[in-house]
């Protein structure tokens, strides 16, 4: 039991930030991202005995995180949320700096992508190797490269058009 707890603690420390980024990129708000991250690690704990060494632990955790995010459906559409900017800015300082505004704009732009695009680009931004992303997303590496190329282009366009507004 304590071995399992130690392993779980190690997994949490090694992966929680990256999982959080994925959830944050997916949902676009920190509260939901924290909830989803918690839910992911609860599922990791519940399924720890099912890990079969067929992939890296981080890949396995990412897979659980992706599936947890995908099943997170809301009635109200959260695409391109306007509250997003405000919540990110409020969380930091009273006077948002230029950098914080750019970060808020980046999250707003990611929120305008489709669900699978959000997941993939968040991992690309976090520099997860392509082979690992392909395994997590369950698509071939060739297909992934095509998708990444498209998503990068799309995100850059959205970001720049949002910046101009």
């Amino acid at each position: 039991m304590s071995d399992q707890r130690l392993l779980f603690q190690q997994l949490f420390e090694d992966n929680s930030k990256r999982v959080y980024h994925l959830c944050y990129g997916y949902t676009g708000d920190s509260d939901s991202a924290n909830d989803l991250m918690q839910e992911t690690f609860i599922k990791v704990w519940q399924n720890l005995d099912k890990f079969r060494n067929q992939s890296q632990l981080s890949t396995w955790i990412y897979r659980i995180a992706v599936n947890t995010c995908l099943s997170y459906l809301r009635t109200a559409k959260r695409r391109a949320t306007d509250e997003l900017n405000d919540s990110i800015i409020e969380n930091h300082t009273e006077e948002p700096s230029e950098k914080q505004e750019q970060i808020a704009l980046l999250y707003q732009s990611i929120a305008q992508l489709e669900e699978n695009e959000r997941i993939i680009i968040t991992m690309v931004l976090d520099e997860v190797p392509y082979a690992e992303i392909a395994e997590i997303a369950g698509i071939s590496e060739g297909n992934l490269r095509v998708k990444i190329h498209r998503i990068k282009h799309k995100l850059t366009e959205i970001y720049n058009s949002n910046e101009r507004v």
Partner: protein
């Protein structure tokens, strides 16, 4: 104008940290376990108690007609069906290996699960309602001998009125809400499923 590399640099500089610690997650695991145990306990123990009560009534009370025993059996059958289905669905969702499968398979699994729940909550509910109506009709035979004429008529009118309200107001409302909620979920899942389709790399540019 920013290029993708600049956007990536921006991302890597910010890194918001999660507001949830390891201890919080561990605490949630413990509280979820006990909340779940409680929920399962009530979801299975309440129908079980009702079933035991009904069996006890049919064994100790000497009903005048066999139709009442049949009515009690139908109600017990309905309760068993509902409880078993709830527990099976819960087990399927919590023990499923689908969480660890590829996203498209997971989404496909969720779609199927939602559709099954939709059928259970709507179409199967009509069968359940018909069975309960039949049970009341059978019980009315006993009431016919036990009650005075006007009491019997009042009983029948009340039951019929209640069934009509349930069927034409509550059930219709419930089915409409449930259908639109689950339909929205299924459509969302379908949309996401399409996004994870493995395309031929030669198609893209």
């Amino acid at each position: 104008m920013k290029g993708f590399e600049e956007i990536q640099q921006l991302w890597q500089k910010q890194k918001p940290d999660p507001a949830v610690s390891f201890d919080t997650v561990l605490q949630r695991i413990k509280s979820d376990k006990s909340a779940l145990a409680k929920k399962l306990f009530w979801q299975s123990i309440v129908p079980c108690l009702v079933i035991i009560g009904l069996v006890w009534i049919s064994l100790t009370v000497a009903f005048a007609t066999w139709t009442t025993y049949l009515a009690v059996s139908i109600v017990i059958g309905c309760l068993c069906y509902y409880t078993v289905n709830q527990l099976i669905d819960y087990r399927q969702l919590s023990d499923s290996q689908s969480l660890l499968s590829k996203p498209q398979q997971y989404i496909h699994y969720l779609q199927g699960f939602q559709q099954r729940r939709n059928r259970f909550n709507t179409r199967h509910y009509s069968i359940y309602e018909a069975c309960i109506a039949l049970a009341f009709a059978l019980y009315a035979v006993e009431m016919y001998f036990a009650l005075s004429f006007w009491f019997f008529v009042s009983f029948i009118v009340f039951v019929v009125f209640w069934f009509l309200i349930c069927h034409f107001v509550f059930m219709k409302q419930y089915i409409r809400q449930e259908n639109s909620r689950i339909q929205q979920m299924i459509e969302d899942l379908q949309r996401i499923h399409e996004q994870f389709r493995d395309e031929d790399p030669a198609d893209g540019r």
